[in-house]
């Protein structure tokens, strides 16, 4: 359907969309995916305005919610008009919303609310009074299952955790307001196995006002600080300094400052980062620990390699999970849905991908098959595929995922899920590269202070002096970058380069039992072993071949779609080691010190980072162990810890029993497992512990499903109590979930306004085109025509409270390419299709944003007084 007069093609607006063969393709088109378990209140102000709202005010028409739902909504005790910048908009009365959900003990219910800016509302508009009730249907009507929770005079969230004695079943969650201004809300449910909370607002972390932590460029010298006009400075080690501006003395925390002052402070930090001599500038954050929650990444159960080298335990110690550590993946590039334009990275990696100015695609000549140019190096490291009518090989995407795939409730999780990925393309046609291109790429990477590790899952070169020189330059006598390389797959003792160079960590591959994979090289190329897989074996007896599952892509028919694949090779082993180094370095940096490649190699050669699994000729220093590595980095200062493998249990109709293997760390620590119990009557546990007490034990866990409802989801915890000789009684909790049946995920995020915003010229920041789309099958599709060549931002979101702004906190939002980090799309004369965005009520964590997004108030929808009904109409 083409909308006359506004130049917008829309799909999913009731009239269909798309173009026939006789019509030219639209200038810009794509789709918006909806995050799993997302729902929308059926009577938002936007729906009421259009007369399309559906009543959810009564128990009989309460909206159903799935487990772990996130629903965006709107409530107001009265109707009225907005004022000021939103004076043409109206809010409506909707004082109650009802939802139904299956609730169990331990479920966390959170209501986060958000108000329009103060100048949108009358000065006497009070903060809203609101209440959350959990209701159960009884013969006589509804009764309160828990004490109601109310709040007023603030915008704080209401959080409820259902107690142990709570009876599992179907309940109504009632949200209501009785006085005060209109507000948006996000209601989220999290069952006990979901560790992570739901962040619906842009994080504004606490930091010290007018202070910044900066890293100086290598040759800048301390005199560069003087040019910044700072009032005081403090050396934090290496090239890192803490600086202050303004009067010296004790500084306030950001929480006591106004939004304008906080934004000004962040702008100052941002400007510091752009000064000559400054590599990196960050606020002086007040740190809290971060925790990886891998169990909601749906392929995590296939990632046998992570528990095998004790990565989950290392996450407990390395709270930052590699945050801020840069891993350059010199490989085939990175999967992109739009490889010609770049961006739109694989959704399991996008959060962590960073680009730097300059050349990041070093493939040149006949090996270069990308379409940005003809045989030239360029700035776009996207993987163009193989350039043949075949299933392309996205090797670099697989490698990057192993090292640093994000912990984002989908797919896999990397060894260092908060580390940064810097993709550098050095392999082109047929997965081949030239020595010259590789050397140029390493020389470039060596000069980038953001990069801490180079992962080279490649080989085949002879002993090139130029390559060795480039690597030595990056290594910088142990003070620069760690270089990790694959040891090769020829089952040979011949030296393979670059793995065999002295300043390179050559990594061989083991299968699921720690035995060297038959293909993995031995001898001078091997410094250490890591999981690389062996598809011919199921050595760990988990029912699957011992292969490495990671991110991948398909390019069927020219359409690039993200996916996952299982591979094997020393290519897969190397990024495990790169990720472990990122965990170590990230932890030490967070603690105010650092960790260098020289320290890593020294510890490795001393056997402090590895388990001994075989002779040095075959296995080098042994099998990398993430927890041992953290212990070495922290100089042995680790508490006694009992780990469980697997770290969580998921039962279903086919799997109702499992065995937990419990291991103590440090390994010489003896523990006695005293009990393994659960509050759920359907869960049974039996302890099998050798006598006398040792460093390991086994617990068999069985779910008795005979009396359980096939349509319900159950969750509980197995509480394991153990006695240590040095630290007394300690506890380990293993989350357990069970669902016998399945139900479709009918995800829905509400009507979306898609905006194309100019990023240049006189109309910079202005909306040049907009469309209104509704979802079908969990996605929105959009298409725009008659857009002039230029640079644009592409954003979409809901206007739940009908104040004329989308993407405000509490509203669903999608920004290209990544939420929170919008980048421009460059449109030329050729159409751009297949642009993919992701919408959610969730906001990215600060680690993904780089600097906090302070003062962001959403995007203003362009007024349209006339036109089809799908375009916004305004209150008179």
């Amino acid at each position: 359907m083409v909308l006359a007069g506004c130049g917008i093609w829309m799909a999913g607006c009731g009239g269909g969309g798309g173009n026939s063969n006789s019509e030219p393709p639209p200038d810009l088109s794509g789709s918006i995916a909806i995050e799993t378990n997302t729902r929308i209140d059926l009577d938002t102000a936007d729906e009421i305005r259009l007369g399309l709202s559906v009543n959810n005010d009564l128990p009989e028409n309460a909206q159903g919610l799935p487990a772990n739902a996130a629903v965006g909504g709107y409530l107001s005790s009265a109707g009225g008009d907005y004022i000021g910048p939103a004076s043409r908009f109206r809010f409506y009365r909707d004082h109650i919303d009802l939802y139904t959900a299956e609730l169990i003990p331990g479920t966390r219910i959170s209501l986060q609310i958000f108000s329009s800016p103060a100048d949108f509302l009358a000065t006497d508009a009070e903060l809203p009074t609101r209440r959350v009730r959990i209701l159960k249907s009884e013969a006589g009507g509804l009764i309160e299952a828990t004490e109601p929770v109310s709040a007023t005079s603030n915008l704080d969230p209401i959080n409820i955790t259902l107690p142990d004695g709570f009876e599992p079943g179907s309940y109504i969650i009632e949200l209501s307001t009785s006085a005060g201004r209109p507000f948006r809300y996000v209601l989220s449910l999290a069952d006990p196995t979901s560790v992570r909370g739901f962040n619906a607002r842009y994080t504004e972390p606490a930091f010290v006002m007018d202070e910044a932590v900066v890293r100086m460029a290598p040759q800048a010298g301390v005199q560069a600080l003087a040019a910044l006009g700072v009032s005081s400075r403090k050396h934090l080690g290496d090239d890192v300094w803490l600086i202050q501006r303004g009067p010296t003395g004790v500084r306030a925390m950001s929480g006591s400052a106004g939004a304008g002052e906080r934004k000004a402070a962040i702008d100052w930090v941002r400007s510091l980062g752009q000064q000559p001599g400054i590599d990196l500038a960050e606020p002086n954050y007040v740190y809290a620990s971060m925790m990886v929650a891998p169990d909601d990444d749906d392929l995590y159960s296939r990632q046998w390699a992570l528990p095998f080298i004790q990565v989950p335990l290392a996450w407990q110690v390395a709270e930052t999970s590699g945050a801020g550590v840069g891993i350059a993946v010199l490989d085939t590039g990175l999967f992109s849905v739009t490889p010609v334009a770049g961006g739109n990275w694989h959704p399991d990696l996008a959060e962590n991908v960073r680009l730097l100015p300059g050349i990041m695609d070093y493939v040149s000549g006949s090996l270069d098959i990308d379409q940005e140019d003809t045989g030239l190096r360029d700035s776009n490291p996207a993987d163009p595929g193989d350039g043949r009518a075949q299933s392309s090989n996205f090797h670099g995407t697989h490698v990057a995922g192993i090292a640093a795939a994000a912990d984002n409730a989908e797919g896999i999780v990397g060894v260092a899920p908060n580390a940064l990925i810097y993709p550098v393309r050095v392999l082109g046609r047929d997965g081949l590269g030239s020595g010259a291109d590789l050397i140029a790429a390493i020389n470039w990477a060596a000069a980038q202070p953001e990069i801490d590790v180079l992962n080279l899952s490649l080989g085949g070169l002879g002993p090139s002096e130029l390559l060795k020189s480039a690597i030595d330059n990056a290594y910088k006598n142990g003070e620069g970058q760690l270089i990790v390389a694959a040891a090769g797959n020829e089952a040979s003792d011949q030296a393979t380069y670059p793995a065999a160079y002295a300043n390179v960590v050559g990594v061989g591959a083991v299968a699921g039992d720690g035995v060297r994979a038959g293909y993995s090289n031995v001898g001078p190329s091997v410094d250490v072993m890591a999981p690389g897989g062996d598809g011919s074996r199921d050595a760990n007896q988990d029912g699957f071949p011992d292969v490495i599952v990671s991110s991948w892509g398909t390019d069927e028919g020219g359409e690039f779609l993200p996916s996952y694949a299982a591979l094997q090779g020393t290519s897969m082993a190397a990024p495990h080691v790169a990720g472990v180094y990122a965990l170590m370095k990230g932890k030490l940096r967070a603690d105010g010190s650092d960790y260098t490649p020289e320290q890593f190699l020294a510890s490795l050669r001393a056997g402090a980072l590895t388990r001994q699994v075989g002779p040095a000729f075959e296995y080098g220093a042994g099998l990398i162990d993430a927890l041992f590595a953290m212990d070495a980095a922290l100089a042995g200062d680790l508490p006694v810890t009992l780990s469980s493998s697997p770290s969580a249990l998921q039962f279903n109709a086919a799997v109702t029993s499992a065995e937990l293997v419990l291991n103590a760390f440090p390994e010489n620590e003896q523990v006695t497992v005293e009990s393994a119990t659960s509050s759920a009557s359907w869960l049974l546990a039996t302890i099998d512990q050798p006598q006398p007490p040792s460093s390991s034990a086994r617990v068999t866990v069985t779910a008795e499903t005979g009396q359980l409802d096939a349509q319900k989801r159950y969750a509980t915890e197995l509480d394991i109590s153990y006695l240590t000789a040095s630290e007394g009684v300690k506890a380990l909790t293993v989350p357990v979930s069970l669902k016998l049946g399945t139900s479709p995920d009918e995800k829905e995020a509400g009507r979306h306004y898609v905006l194309v915003i100019s990023a240049e010229g006189e109309n910079n920041g202005g909306v040049v085109s907009q469309a209104v789309v509704t979802s079908a099958n969990g996605r929105y599709t959009f298409a725009f025509d008659d857009i002039e060549p230029g640079n644009y931002f592409l954003v979409a979101g809901t206007d739940t409270d009908n104040n004329g702004f989308i993407c405000e906190n509490g509203e669903a939002c999608a920004e290209y390419p990544v939420n929170g980090l919008p980048e421009t799309i460059s449109l030329g004369n050729d159409p751009v299709s297949g642009v993919v965005l992701s919408t959610s009520f969730r906001r990215p964590a600060i680690s993904a944003l780089g600097l906090p997004r302070i003062g962001f108030e959403g995007y203003r929808v362009e007024p349209e007084k006339t036109g089809p009904s799908a375009i916004r109409e305004y209150a008179p």
Binding site: S391, L427, G431, L432, G433, L458, T554, E556, G569
Partner: protein, 156 residues
């Protein structure tokens, strides 16, 4: 009757089908077919495609296979076996029917010496659509490839 028929002594040679279509054409290929040894796999019907589900680590674009008209063409997968790195692959170069034998020639790619190559194991293959008619035996040859033959007793 085939369109291109060359009579040389008693040898019959065909290079296309009766309606001028090629005897064989490559419909896709992959570095990760999941077959660890050299060999041929013949798929005569859509139901046979389920065979591929049992190949570990199989990453073949399925669309060209599922869209094939099996009444006119069948599928032959020519597997190169497990290779230690990237850079390997094969492409159909020629097809002929000589007497009762469909003779296919493939070109094998290998990474040049001293090239930089990815270090994941690969299992390259070419997926061919071939005519099911006018041949009883099938043979695949290539540069450096030992001849691959379907069993002469193969019952199509």
């Amino acid at each position: 009757m085939l369109a291109a028929l060359v009579l040389t002594a008693c040898t019959r040679t065909y290079s296309s089908t009766a309606d001028g279509a090629p005897l064989a054409r490559q419909i896709t290929a992959s570095d990760q077919c999941g077959v660890g040894s050299e060999g041929l796999t013949y798929l005569a019907s859509k139901d046979d495609l389920s065979t591929l589900d049992r190949w570990p680590m199989q990453n073949i674009t399925m669309k060209p296979l599922t869209e094939l008209d099996f009444s006119r063409e069948h599928i032959l997968i020519v597997g190169m076996g497990q290779k230690p790195t990237g850079g390997f692959g094969l492409t159909l170069a020629n097809s002929q029917i000589v007497d009762d034998t469909l003779r296919l020639t493939v070109f094998l790619r290998r990474p040049p010496a001293d090239a930089v190559v990815s270090q994941a194991l690969t299992t390259p293959c070419a997926v061919l659509a071939i005519t099911p008619d006018h041949w009883q035996m099938l043979e695949v040859n290539g540069n450096g490839l030992a001849p691959l033959r379907l069993d002469p007793q193969f019952n199509r």
